[in-house]
Symmetry: C2
Subunit: 221 residues, 2 copies
């Protein structure tokens, strides 16, 4: 390909969260904003996400996807990494610092996010079950185990490892899922860390762009 191409990402046509920044395209939008690269957006309905045309891009029928010429990617982690690898601003130049930033990306997605997602899974898929209320403290305590460890590591540092990186971007978006639960406030340094992420101009631009999609479209319950 000889000409630079503007990548296209897919996002929810209607918001499951009312546009609070929790849909996973937010991570990709934020990454694009941090590295000051343009991108285009294609809206996908919940129905269309499960159709063969979309599954050809994303085998698990989710958003976001990333298309750029012949290249099609899925998984927010992989897309953010792809952007971070190609444009300065999300990964340190020093090889060791870069490897550590990538480590935090994986830690956010594979160690911290799963117990946090369990809380949403419990609510949305088991909220009507007899065991829901009884089980909730176990689910929350598994989250607290991770938050406590993360809080200990962060200490009073600004970011997880030196300058802001794709690792922080991922961790902040993962922790943001807890905002409504109030659990973040049990760890003041983590709450401040997340607030600091949200205060970044690139985050705000991404948030506003995501919210604008849903203007006039009722949220999905």
């Amino acid at each position: 390909m000889s000409l630079p191409m503007i990548p296209t990402i897919t996002v929810f046509e209607r918001s499951p969260d009312g546009g609070k920044g929790l849909a996973r395209d937010m991570r990709v939008r934020w990454a694009f904003e941090e590295v000051a690269q343009p991108y285009e957006v294609r809206l996908v309905s919940f129905g269309a996400m499960k159709e063969p045309a979309h599954r050809a891009l994303h085998p698990f029928g989710q958003i976001p996807t990333y298309e750029e010429g012949d290249l099609a990617l899925f998984e927010s982690g992989a897309i953010v990494f792809h952007i971070a690898e190609r444009h300065a601003g999300l990964l340190p130049a020093n090889a060791n610092a870069r490897a550590r930033a990538i480590t935090w990306m994986f830690a956010a997605l594979n160690t911290v996010e799963p117990p946090i997602l369990d809380l949403q899974t419990a609510k949305f898929l088991e909220g009507d079950k007899a065991w829901y209320e009884q089980r909730l403290p176990l689910v929350k305590n598994r989250i607290r185990d991770r938050l406590g460890e993360l809080s200990d590591r962060l200490g009073d540092a600004e970011w997880l490892d030196g300058a802001f990186s794709a690792g922080d971007l991922m961790m902040v978006t993962v922790l943001l899922r807890l905002k409504a639960s109030g659990m973040l406030d049990e760890y003041p340094n983590l709450a401040a860390y997340v607030a600091q992420g949200e205060a970044r101009p690139a985050y705000k631009r991404a948030f506003d762009a995501q919210l604008a999609v849903f203007a006039g479209r009722p949220p999905i319950a």
Copy 2:
């Protein structure tokens, strides 16, 4: 650093699985074997994993970690990626194919592994709860959703995207967690895919090396 250094990884001193290859150092061992690089192993007890010395390497008190000179990494995904980036054999040379292989690494760890881990979490942490048996079909069906989608994408291909890559390495190790459950056999192409991974000489060398650690050490129940 002027001299090549042999990296050291940490592994369980005693096996939670009796040496069936499920501990996460297996992924890293397998990666080293695929790229034909030597590595050293340091055993860590369950108690020591939670002590400050180990937490300095791994904030979440787990294995594996990776040390090479000044560099310390954690998270099996990040370590495998680090190895794959530095040595030929786990990531394609073509830029687009490389990005797709990385996508499968993230998909394995962030989309396929979490519901599979829930099955173990349910068993080990909620196996004595009143709701365990009733809830189990929900947990299993969430796994089946992912397996069905993965099976559809794999079709009759040998690997997920062209030649064997770090994406397949991760996906095979994630799916291996299901072996004892019998659920993999519901998807013959996935069962064959995993068997094909286990049949690789590099996998076998890694498996044997992991198992050798536990020889003469009783498994942890």
